[in-house]
Structure formats: C-alpha cells, structure tokens
C-alpha cells in the first residue's frame, strides 16, 4: 500500500506538532507530592500530561518498575477529571499493561478557607500485577509486589476509591491530609488508608528575572502514607506505612520534575521505593485545538 503523505498532510503533521509544542504552557503546580493530593484543582481548560513512576526491589525479589501515564483536565474551576494508564515491568518477567483509572475531584467550597475539602471519586480497573503504588490501603504490603506477573495479572481489581482531601496553605507551607476508603466491587470489604504531606518552596517571593534554577522553582516536602486495614479489621495491624521526602523542580513555562525516596516503616512495607515523575501542562488546550483546526481549514 502506498503511503499517502502529500504536502498538505505533511503541513498538517507539522501544525499538529506545533499545537502540542507551542501552545502556552503553564506551571504544573501540584507541589512535590506523589501520593498526597492537595486541594489545588487543575485550571479550567488546561490539560496536564504526567508520568509517575515507582521502582524498587523487595528483599529476595526482582527489580520492578511501575508507571502511570496521567492525563488531567480541568473541566471547570470546581471539577478536575483525570485518566491514568498503568503499566509495569519486572526484571526477568517482561512488561505489561495493568489497567486504567478514571478519577474525578470536586472542590466543595467556593472560597478559600483554613481547611479546604475536596471530594475524590475514582473508578479503577486494574489487575493484581499493578505496581504503580499510587495509594496504599487496607493490608497492602510487600507481598503484593513479590508474586509472579503471570499469576498476579489474573487477579481483577475493579474498585471504587473515594478520598476526602483536606488542604491548607499557611505562610508558604502547603499542608494536605487524605482519608481513603476503597471498595473492590467483587464482594471484598472496604479498605482504608491515609496520606498526608507538607511542603514549601525554597523561596516565597519570585525573583524578577527569568531563570530555571531560582529558589522559588524548587519545592521540598515530606509525605507519609499507609493502610488502615479493612472495615472488619481496622487499625495498624499488618499494614504498610511509608515516609517519603520529596523534591520538585519546576522549569518555569516547561515541565516539572519530581523525585521522592520512600522508606518503609513496618515489616510489611517495601524497604525502599524510589519515585520520579515529570509533568507538563498545556494551557487552554481547547482554544489551541480550535486555533489549529481553524488554521488547517
């Protein structure tokens, strides 16, 4: 079959590329956290692409690498919707797609207060081999990471996850607490978890000049997260907990890089998890697309 790629199509390809590369980018300002959500919503009309990766090597097991590709869209000022596509690779066992998640966050109060609640509702359809570790609930532990992919992928996890996100900003500090309840739709008990984080930029005021390494472009923080058992076995017994210092570097008008080193606090936790992420936000994606389509006509 002959590949049809005339000048018009070629110019369309370049225009599409330009639409992706040129539209006004803005700061993907979620702070340095990987697990903890703040009450900050995506700006209406903006689309953020992000990649969140987790890697580790539990004792006596193969090295693994989990990745979530994230597409976050600000539907309105009070509603942010997000799609995740999860995949993982395990040394000696290959790589596989492990499922998707569709999450929605709803800001509940119209104005900023000392504590700002956001309601989070997510549907996830993933399998047991998922190793993105985007939340730790119930009795999740290192055992979930050690099984062979061929067996783990047979386990279906169709779940509804809800979170109450509480966020505050105080004198440059961002403080957030998440309370998690997750229900597997296949007659499993409710599982609970938590995440909390605190972060601060290196400088509160911006410098007048353009710069990549200005102190205000860096944020450091720490987050803690873990499981709280199930509704018939609630508590800390046989649950995993982590503490993770985090760092974010925001290249003004470009991508934001994040890195986090997580340390397991209990015997059921993985001893060490390294996370890194990159995100890039396109401002007013709809307008850019309309401009592109209008220009193509």
């Amino acid at each position: 079959m002959q590949l049809i790629c005339n000048n018009r199509i070629l110019s369309g390809c370049f225009a599409a590329l330009a639409t992706l590369l040129v539209p006004p980018a803005c700061r993907a300002g979620e702070g340095p956290f990987f697990i903890t959500y703040t009450h900050q919503m995506e700006e209406p009309g903006n689309l953020e692409f992000a990649s969140k990766s987790a890697m580790g090597q539990p004792a006596g097991c193969n090295f693994f690498f989990g990745n979530a590709a994230e597409f976050e869209y600000g539907a309105t000022a009070w509603w942010t919707t997000e799609l995740y596509l999860d995949a993982q690779g395990t040394s000696g066992q290959g790589a596989l797609f492990t499922g998707f998640r569709w999450e929605n966050r709803f800001r509940m109060l119209p104005r900023e207060h000392w504590i700002n609640p956001v309601l989070y509702v997510e549907f996830e359809d993933i399998n047991g081999a998922d190793k993105t570790l985007l939340e730790v609930v119930g009795h999740d532990g290192v055992d979930d990471l050690t099984g062979p992919n061929s067996e783990a992928r047979q386990e279906k996890q169709r779940e509804i996850e809800t979170k109450l996100i509480l966020g505050s900003h105080y004198r440059g500090w961002t403080i957030a607490e998440n309370f998690i309840a997750e229900k597997n739709l296949a007659h499993e008990p409710f599982e609970f978890g938590y995440a909390a984080g605190i972060s601060r930029p290196f400088a509160l005021a911006a410098s007048p000049g353009r710069c990549l390494a200005c102190p205000e472009n860096f944020q450091a923080g720490v987050e803690v997260y873990g499981g709280l058992g199930t509704h018939n076995d609630f508590g800390f017994r046989e649950t995993s907990h982590y503490i993770a210092p985090t760092l974010a570097w925001d290249l003004a008008g470009g991508p934001t890089f994040r890195v986090s080193a997580g340390f397991g606090l209990t015997s059921t936790s993985a001893r060490f998890l390294l996370r890194f992420g990159v995100s890039y936000e396109i401002a007013q994606i709809g307008r850019s697309a309309r401009k592109f389509l209008g220009g193509a006509q």
Binding site: C26, G31, Q40, R107, R171, G172, L204, A205
Partner: protein
C-alpha cells in the same frame, strides 16, 4: 411562548441581574484593606509580570486584553482597585465564573502579581512611549 419558556427566561434574567458585572464588584465589603508590602517596588512589579505571564496570561491574554470569558485586566477598574481586593480575588477565585483559586501561590507571589496589575497605568504609559519612539 408557553409558561415554561417565560419562567426560564425570567429565571435566567434574574440570575444575570444577580451576578454583578465584575469580580472586583463581587469582593465582600468586609475584606480588610491591607496594603501591598511590595507597593511601588519595581523589582516586585517585574517579578509580578513574570508570574502574570506564567499563571494568568493563558486566560487573560499576554497584554491583559482578556480572552473569551476571561475579562481584560488592563482596565481602570482593575488597576485602580484596592490591592487587598485584587489579592482577595487571587486567593479565592470564582468557581462560578471559572476562575480558579491561586492560593497555592505563596502570599508574596500573589502580592507581586497585584503590584504588577496595579501598576498597569505605569506600564501603559511606558508602552505608549516605547511605541511613540
């Protein structure tokens, strides 16, 4: 025109009348009138310009001219508004009008944006001189 249509039109008209023309007018009168710690500081204005370009220009336009539903910010109503009023708008946004809260920006950065917005007249004057030359 049936009753349902009349009721709908009346409802929309009432809603439109209930919605003041601008966010500046919607700021509660109880907002304390604090002064901008960066007032008159040219470096802060420059930093505010940089922050404006990064945080605000995608919606309000590079030259603050306004785009679509996002209103222009190069108007006297904005640059003559009290600093605390603009600061309040940046902190709270307006979910109804699609403006998000910018409370995630540290307070000094929000004040820097306010310093830039209120120096609009200075910038306009500067721009016109540049254009004239």
């Amino acid at each position: 025109m049936n009753n349902l249509h009349r009721t709908l039109i009346a409802f929309v008209a009432a809603a439109a009348l209930a919605l003041p023309a601008s966010l500046v007018e919607r700021v509660p009168a109880t907002v304390p009138h604090g002064s901008n710690p960066f007032e008159g500081n040219p470096q802060a204005r420059q930093a505010g310009k940089k922050l404006y370009e990064r945080e605000c220009s995608a919606c309000h336009g590079k030259n603050r001219e306004g785009i679509g539903k996002a209103p222009p910010l190069n108007q006297p109503e904005v640059y003559s508004a009290p600093a605390s009023t603009l600061f309040w708008i940046l902190r709270n946004g307006s979910l109804r009008r699609g403006m998000p809260s910018f409370a995630h920006l540290p307070e000094p950065q929000r004040w820097q944006i306010v310093a830039f917005l209120r120096a609009q007249a200075v910038y306009n004057e500067h721009d016109s001189h540049q254009g004239g030359n």
